[in-house]
Amino acid sequence: MAEAVADADLKQTPLFDLHVELGARMVPFAGYSMPVQYKAGIMAEHLQTRSKAGLFDVSHMGQAFLVGPDHETTARALEALTPSNFVELKPGKQRYTVLLNDQGGVIDDLMVTRSISEDDDGRLMLVVNAARKEIDYAHFRSRLPDNVKLEAVDDRALIAVQGPEAVAAVAAHAPKAAELGFMEAASMEFDGIDCHIARAGYTGEDGVEMSVPAGAAEAIARALLADDRVEAIGLGARDSLRLEAGLCLYGHDIDETTSPVEGAITFCMQKRRREEGGFPGDGRILAELKDGAGRVRVGLRLEGKAPAREGAEIALPEDGPVIGTVTSGGFAPTVGAPIAMGYVPAGKAAPGTALDLIVRGRRLPATVTAMPFVPNRYFRKSGS
């Protein structure tokens, strides 16, 4: 039970003092001192987010802009590095994508937003993983054409509010937030403070992610936490929530060796890109799309109560050979049982396939399960 208190080398987010005041247990994460849980604990925080609303400090994540002369130019530059369609991304829309290396492996997964304002033509907003920001930024800077620049943002915090009551709680201060559909974003005032709010998240619930001025982050967080529906939630519950939602954690479920096809995230690849290619590793990725990948990420539901964690081996039943590895796993509070995800050969990836997960030398029976483990509750506007 290692201790990890505010280390001098760790960076702090603008909400650090608030976390400490709220009794958070602070741990090192991607170079930052971050709250892993508050007094309520991971289980209660997880269930709070599923039943009402949770507030997450995700200011450690990287915020940046790609800036070019016009949308088409910036979008083409991003398309050269990712397998998604950004040229046709409409103003005010957000899209999930992956930065690919030349082997078609995933350098990082990220969210990209096209501003709704015409004044911002040629700008795309990026949110990248905390542990990958320096790698991503260096990659962009080495690969972007001369007329498209990466501008890292270091004066803004990022606050996620997630759960069935999240948007109502945010809309009490920023009414326009309620008008957004899933994966839509807009700039708006939150109690008079200029914020950029996207209706998206990492929990499978309805909710928003708010990019806010660093100096106003604490006031905004306090305003939301004053609402009875909202509680502060740490990284521990963030992880169990995203696992139940079937979402990848970079560096665990996807990395530089896994392609988007293996990682089962091909929803980030729109039709034109699948037809035309023109992205790093397109040879491998298009072949995998056509013929299937050798291995694929699947969901796993364990029969007993014992969890299987990252690194546990996946084997065929009845003392069969090891065929894969668990990449994320743990107890799922909403499901009330242990769940996991991991890589298996394509022939063993069908839902219902019986497999064993090897934990401390013992074989735990598990079944391949369609993800998400808990139904998504994203707010999709009809017709969009």
Binding site: M1, I42, H46, A306, R309, P338, R360
Partner: protein, 123 residues
Amino acid sequence: MTTYYSKDHEWIDVEGDIATVGITSYAQEQLGDVVYVELPETGKSLSQGDEAAVVESVKAASEVYAPIDGEVVEANEVLAEEPAKVNEDPEGAAWFLKMKVGNEGQLADLMDEAAYKAYVETL
């Protein structure tokens, strides 16, 4: 009956030649919500420092070590069904196992309550 404590946050109550082993309140607080407990088989022979049980929280798995040598005479099967009891009553009803004391001399390696309290203060 005397209670001893280990640096790994186990407690051990010795009565006659039977020792009851559990984890301390400090340990359960650090673990957070316990969701699974793996207990040893009765009759298993443990040496001091051996993995005696495993306790899993939402976040991670942690080992419970045998504070002294001994043979497992009983495991608290209630914990297999109700692991959350470890959070509710760690130093009482949520004991993990009883063992037959194999080496009484090893109790001298452990801390008494005052020493353990002082140790936790330093963490």
